[in-house]
């Protein structure tokens, strides 16, 4: 089961999740691009030992070398946003440490020696920052971080220099997409140093109306300022989304109801469904539930379901490799099951 998405948190109807990531490197080791296996293992061991011997974190974490994890599981962890594709690309030298509730992970020898990540449901960036800072300070007691007096924490890529922080939120914006207001809003947002990208789908096209917003730059402003800015802008977007939804209900109620119920019909009756189609329909059904156009399923965790129906998660849960068609059949079953569980 996907543990970290527990459907708590502020504005959870619209904000799916929040994430803080810190990039850190060690002073006395070559950076991952130049690391050999032996040195990479020293780093893994060093970091792993600190976590194991810590009173607070010691018992709550599991430690893995990437190359020891079965392929299916690696990809499943990417879909759950716990590890990154880059970590797998570096699997000869990389590893990760993850908390049992999946909310905290430390990637080792990804692009940087350390990538600390705190995940949370809803809009919760300040709380995530607090936790990231705590974990970072514990590691800092034992490690010698690479730091430059002028440029701050030294990261492998110059785009992460300074604080090394990336604060991001995943937001569900069907109202803004349907009213055609999103593009203008995104243009304005980019002027504030915030970047936006679709979560599912290729390039700028987003499936399921899910978007990730995050800070573009990491140097020159402190951690609190950066996080506050992302959170403020996320709140602005949430308010605009609410306005757009209200507009849809006031001006186009019948059309919206039609689209929501059609989606609901297909989603809950399909026997074979691709992940693209499922994500698209789920977004509309979720909107229908949020707007009270569908009276049931108030307790259905849609945010979790978005992840659960991704290909690798389906295979992981059924403990076997499936071909495309088998996955599409399984996906339809899972969706039906989740909806049935909640309507009882």
């Amino acid at each position: 089961m996907i543990k970290w998405i527990d459907e708590s948190g502020i504005e959870k109807d619209i904000v799916v999740s929040s994430r803080i990531r810190y990039a850190r490197n060690l002073k006395n080791h070559k950076f991952p691009i130049f690391l050999d296996k032996k040195e990479s293992e020293e780093i893994y061991k060093e970091i792993s030992e600190i976590i194991k011997s810590n009173d607070i974190y010691g018992k709550k974490f599991s430690h893995f070398k990437t190359s020891n994890i079965p392929n299916l599981e690696k990809k499943m962890l990417i879909e759950r946003h716990i590890i990154s594709p880059e970590l797998i690309k570096n699997q000869g030298i990389s590893g990760f440490i993850m908390s049992n509730d999946e909310k905290i992970s430390i990637m080792i020898n990804e692009e940087d020696h350390l990538r600390l990540q705190i995940l949370s449901s809803g809009l919760n960036l300040k709380e995530c920052l607090k936790k990231a800072d705590e974990l970072d300070s514990i590691l800092d007691e034992k490690l010698e971080y690479a730091y430059h007096k002028q440029f701050g924490y030294i990261t492998a890529c110059p785009t992460n220099l300074g604080t090394g922080i990336r604060a991001s939120s995943m937001i569900h914006l069907p109202g803004l997409v349907m009213t055609g207001r999103l593009e203008r809003l995104l243009n304005t947002i980019s002027k504030f140093g915030i970047s936006v990208r679709g979560v599912y789908g290729e390039g700028s096209k987003s499936l399921g109306n899910l978007f990730q917003i995050s800070n573009q730059t990491t140097l020159g402003n402190d951690e609190n300022t950066i996080v506050e800015k992302v959170e403020k802008i996320a709140m602005q977007i949430v308010n605009k989304e609410k306005e757009a939804r209200q507009y849809l209900v006031n001006e186009n109620k019948l059309e919206i109801e039609d689209r929501v119920h059609r989606s609901y019909g297909v989603l809950t009756n399909a026997k074979i469904i691709s992940s693209d189609e499922a994500v698209k329909l789920l977004s509309l059904v979720k909107l229908g539930v949020d707007l009270d156009l569908i009276k049931k399923y108030k307790n259905l965790n849609f945010n979790k379901l978005f992840v659960e129906i991704q290909s690798m998660n389906i295979q992981f849960e059924s403990r076997e490799e499936l071909n495309g068609r088998e996955r599409d059949v399984k996906r339809a079953e899972i969706i039906k099951r989740r909806f049935n569980e909640e309507s009882e």
Binding site: N25, K27, Q150, F151, L219
Partner: protein
């Protein structure tokens, strides 16, 4: 639209360059783009970054210029867009500072710093230390012009203290 260069293939790479305030537009096919000015038609963030290094660096050091610690050459750094170790940033400081300014809009860190930094001595002294370190690097790579520059800066700071 046909390629501006070979006039044979379809132009699939379109780019605009602004040189001294003059806008130059070019439409090239994949092959010509690759040959012409080393533009890589396969867009990736690494390519994008390494193109940026070319655009924003004030000066091109010679290709043999290396980080004295990990041996990464400036050419390699441009290609990967990544540092090889914690000393590269000091070794390539002159070249990358304009780039950092362009990426972040700032060139000085504000915020958290590691524990060991709080044991450091007074701020001015650590600035001298940094300059001294840069001086060592400059001498090591036989960049005497830069070494002289650094020596003057260090002298000026020492005077200010006295």
């Amino acid at each position: 639209m046909l390629c501006d260069r070979c006039h044979k293939n379809k132009a699939t790479v379109h780019f605009t360059r602004i040189i001294n305030g003059k806008k130059i537009e070019m439409h090239l096919c994949k092959d010509c783009a690759r040959e012409n000015a080393g533009i890589n038609p396969e867009f990736s963030i690494e390519n994008f970054l390494s193109d940026m290094f070319g655009e924003f660096s004030l000066k091109e050091p010679d290709e043999e210029y290396k980080c004295p610690d990990c041996g990464m050459t400036y050419e390699q750094f441009k290609r990967y867009g990544k540092f090889g170790c914690s000393e590269c940033i000091t070794a390539f400081k002159d070249e990358i500072e304009p780039l950092i300014q362009n990426i972040h809009g700032h060139r000085r860190h504000k915020g958290k710093y590691p524990r060991q930094k709080s044991f450091e001595e007074s701020k001015e002294l650590s600035e001298i230390e940094i300059l001294r370190k840069e001086l060592q690097v400059a001498i090591k790579v036989e960049n005497y012009e830069k070494a002289a520059e650094l020596r003057d800066k260090i002298k000026a700071l020492e005077k200010g203290e006295g």
